[in-house]
Symmetry: C2
Subunit: 336 residues, 2 copies
């Protein structure tokens, strides 16, 4: 069989690629060259997973890679353009970000409950001002997104004594850890009882813009909102209004409709709004973990075994029980 061509779209160097030495021809692409290199690639590694270049280049002429891997949890930057690519398997970084993002969200919840930002602002002013803070144990959270990251966030909150309502695409009553998973349709009712509303859903046409003025209006004045999903889940102007009008108590955004957030965005200064630069899952060594995950899957590909973390292109994420139909053809399978 001819040597496999692994095309890597990279803005930053990819670690650990020596594991492919002698096994594949590794070719690097940038946003400009990608379209022209795509037809020769068997495998595309979207190392620069924040780029929209794949989506733009995909509809061109010639063969397409049979396997596209994105080292991110979300695959929204590949869809819908790749949704109909029947002979291409998409895999993602499911698993790598679960614990780091759960830690980050738990930290945000505690930081908001204890008003760390207010305390450190007072520190800058050399002011000693005792305040009473929220107790997190016994409070109630709604976590929107029942995939591995949402579940890990839920677990971390449960361990602190928070009552957790998990929201997924479809309701189910037999979840081993959370008892019940609520359907998205229940969200407007759930948020009214929640002290913490956390969005970690995959971005799909159904979930885009779900946090809008109507949703914020249903929340309690004491509620805090956290978004670690995608910026497009939130109607940002509606969130700003909700904060300015004190319809909710606070919010933390790690993701934005436009990233990097432009320096002249009004979001930077909104009282009660914490902004971080899309880093919630990125702990030291994360790039190594992501490279290892791809390379482990490459081992499977080479052996003709079903890949891990195969995305359901219609759903836009990896279903919790992956459909057998989604199992990919390895390099030994007949080329369409």
């Amino acid at each position: 069989m001819s040597e496999t061509c692994v095309l890597v779209l990279d803005a930053e160097p990819l670690p650990r690629l020596d594991r492919l030495a002698g096994r594949a021809r590794v070719v690097h692409a940038d946003e400009k060259t990608l379209a022209e290199q795509l037809p020769a690639a068997d495998v595309l590694l979207v190392w620069d997973f924040l780029s929209d270049a794949v989506r733009r280049a995909w509809p061109g002429d010639g063969p397409r890679p049979r396997w596209v891997h994105t080292p991110s949890a979300g695959v929204d930057r590949l869809l819908p353009e790749l949704a109909d690519a029947r002979d291409t398997v998409i895999t993602n970084a499911r698993g790598v970000f679960d614990r780091p993002i759960a830690e980050y969200v738990l930290g945000l919840v505690l930081a908001m409950a204890k008003d760390f930002r207010g305390t450190w602002e007072l520190q800058r002013q050399r002011r000693w001002r005792h305040r009473e803070t929220f107790r997190v144990g016994g409070s109630r959270a709604t976590v929107v997104g029942s995939g591995p990251i949402g579940r890990e966030i839920g677990r971390a909150l449960l361990a602190l004594g928070v009552k957790v309502d998990l929201v997924g695409r479809t309701a189910r009553d037999t979840d081993p850890e959370f008892g019940r998973v609520h359907a998205t349709a229940s969200l407007p009712h759930l948020v009214g009882d929640s002290d913490w509303v956390v969005c970690v859903a995959p971005l799909t046409p159904e979930s885009a813009g779900m946090f809008d003025a109507a949703m914020f209006a249903r929340m309690k004045p004491e509620a805090h909102f956290v978004n670690v999903g995608r910026g497009q889940h939130v109607v940002e102007d509606d969130l700003v209004d909700a904060l300015l009008e004190h319809r909710i108590s606070g919010a933390a955004l790690d993701v934005f409709a436009a990233e990097p957030l432009p320096a002249d965005s009004r979001l930077w200064d909104v009282p009660g709004l914490l902004i971080s630069p899309h880093m919630c899952g990125d702990t030291l060594g994360w790039r190594d973990d992501l490279a290892e995950q791809f390379l482990d899957n490459y081992d499977r590909w080479e052996r003709g075994q079903p890949l891990h973390n195969v995305v359901d292109k219609r759903l836009g994420y990896v279903p919790t029980a992956p459909a057998a139909a989604a199992a990919p053809a390895g390099p030994a399978a007949p080329q369409p």
Copy 2:
């Protein structure tokens, strides 16, 4: 029997005292009047538990109250003056602060791991700067203080996947939750392996100043230190030097040798040092909880039952298995 006199040293109003209506004569004292009122009191409630007035007034003439309750975890503001008061029982607020302080410390650990303060400082400057952060799961913590608050902090860290070394007065190998509790003498060895060192010990002559230049020198450059015990546990100048010389990565202090921290203290501006105004345990409703706890103990006192949370005056805290000898005489018992 004559009506019990409950003397309340209060700087702020005490809630829920209506529960004593018809049962006791409640008399309020301030720092100036306390000495003169003390001889008439059967019970002293040190509602203003940050005051040193009791210690100053205690050695005077006349009878002393048979029961002194401080609505704080630490009793260091009563000792050593009350240590020899053989006919006086001291009780404290053991239990009320466990969960709130554990939440606060967990929040500080996560905030330091994820560099929230750096992120919010960048937000003020409208700067988007992605960084990689520490993963808390898999890290190692030493918690100094094996009473209920230290244990609750340990539990919260364990739930996040942190390896926890608990340090108490004496070593024991059979702790049901932590396996081993280390003796204080092991502390210099333990801190060298720790990413997080948390002080929540009672302040005693042995623990005062335990975090000094020598101890900070044994910590890793990546280590972070948290003090929610008492300010006197730390040689503050030594901590400042350790931070300025990058011998440790960061610290968070909620307690200080002098409180309120004077506006001209050098501590306010030390890079890597987070300052909060002795509020780690004070969640909304905390004063109600503290009043209820005293009043529940008062019910026991009235019935002649042993009080809860009796301090061992020699140790300076409530031992985990209270000595039977410490059980107090109620009002029905013979007056010495």
